[in-house]
């Protein structure tokens, strides 16, 4: 978000940017809001706040730049400022602690939780959704941005205000944690060697 440069859009232009550049991302944005708050009422409020904010600050959006990344960044910031505090989730892992965990030897220890593709094919219910939601919000976020929304590492770094190296290591850790969860489900479902 280059807030230094401010455009001066006419009312008509504003409306057209809103409809053509912002509205097409509303389903992805809702999903992001829902996965962050884990509550559909909070997700609705967060989505509405974000879209109204985006409209209010539309002059700092530059036409031709990535509207989706711009919107995702506003949503993530609104979540941190307005929702994270009152979130129903248990208290967050200390940020510093999380970062040092990525860099510790533990990352290598369980590099590939043993999980088979066949076991995944039997997860036809909401197992993966529950597994994703159970991850710490920072890990959940990178999986959503990368795997669901297809953002590039560089875009993710901008959305999250973190270095690219951190994006990579966080993704790495997040994927291993998700696999651990999935392999727990697979074991419960009766795959001995899941």
């Amino acid at each position: 978000m280059e807030e230094v440069i401010r455009e001066q859009y006419s009312e008509r232009e504003k409306q057209s940017i809103f409809n053509q550049e912002f509205m097409p991302h509303i389903n992805s944005m809702y999903n992001f809001a829902y996965r962050l708050t884990l509550d559909s009422d909070d997700a609705k409020d967060l989505l509405q706040d974000t879209y109204l904010k985006a409209f209010r600050f539309i002059d700092s959006f530059q036409k031709g730049t990535n509207a989706k990344a711009w919107l995702f960044r506003i949503l993530k910031n609104s979540f941190i400022n307005d929702y994270r505090k009152k979130s129903k989730e248990p208290s967050k892992v200390d940020y510093q602690e999380v970062e040092s965990y990525y860099n510790s030897e533990d990352v290598d220890r369980q590099i590939t939780p043993d999980l088979r593709v066949e076991a995944l094919q039997d997860m036809i219910g909401d197992e993966i959704s529950v597994a994703l939601n159970s991850l710490d919000v920072d890990f959940r976020t990178v999986i959503i941005l990368c795997d669901l929304e297809g953002f590039k590492y560089e875009e993710m770094a901008k959305i999250l205000d973190i270095p690219i190296g951190t994006v990579r290591s966080r993704l790495h850790r997040a994927r291993n944690l998700l696999k651990e969860k999935l392999s727990e489900y697979a074991k419960k479902m009766g795959y001995k060697n899941a």
């Binding site: 409306q15 509303i26 389903n27 944005m29 999903n31 109204l52 094919q121 994703l132 669901l148």
Partner: protein, 90 residues
């Protein structure tokens, strides 16, 4: 990708951490074409853990896409549109 001859594949990977990182960049579309070509041809088809790991990552991603995308409720979309138009009128 053709199915490789499993009996000829390595059962262990010496550089699993590095391999997983390259594999991740390939799936995420962040690897260069050379990196991709090299890894897929020179390593993946000879290394059982990496071959399995690649297919597992792809399968997880497909499952995520199929199961974890909630759509915005239509009333909400309409209400946001309406609020913005009211905003414009002010």
């Amino acid at each position: 990708m053709n199915s490789p001859d499993f009996s000829k594949m390595k059962k262990d990977c010496q550089n699993q951490r590095e391999c997983f990182e390259i594999l991740q960049s390939i799936i995420d579309g962040e690897a260069t074409p050379q990196q991709k070509e090299h890894f897929m041809k020179e390593h993946l088809e000879q290394c059982m853990p990496c071959y399995k790991s690649y297919h597992l990552e792809v399968a997880i991603r497909e499952l995520l896409k199929a199961k974890c995308s909630q759509h915005a409720p239509q009333e909400l979309v309409e209400s946001i549109r309406k609020k913005v138009i009211e905003n414009l009128a002010q």
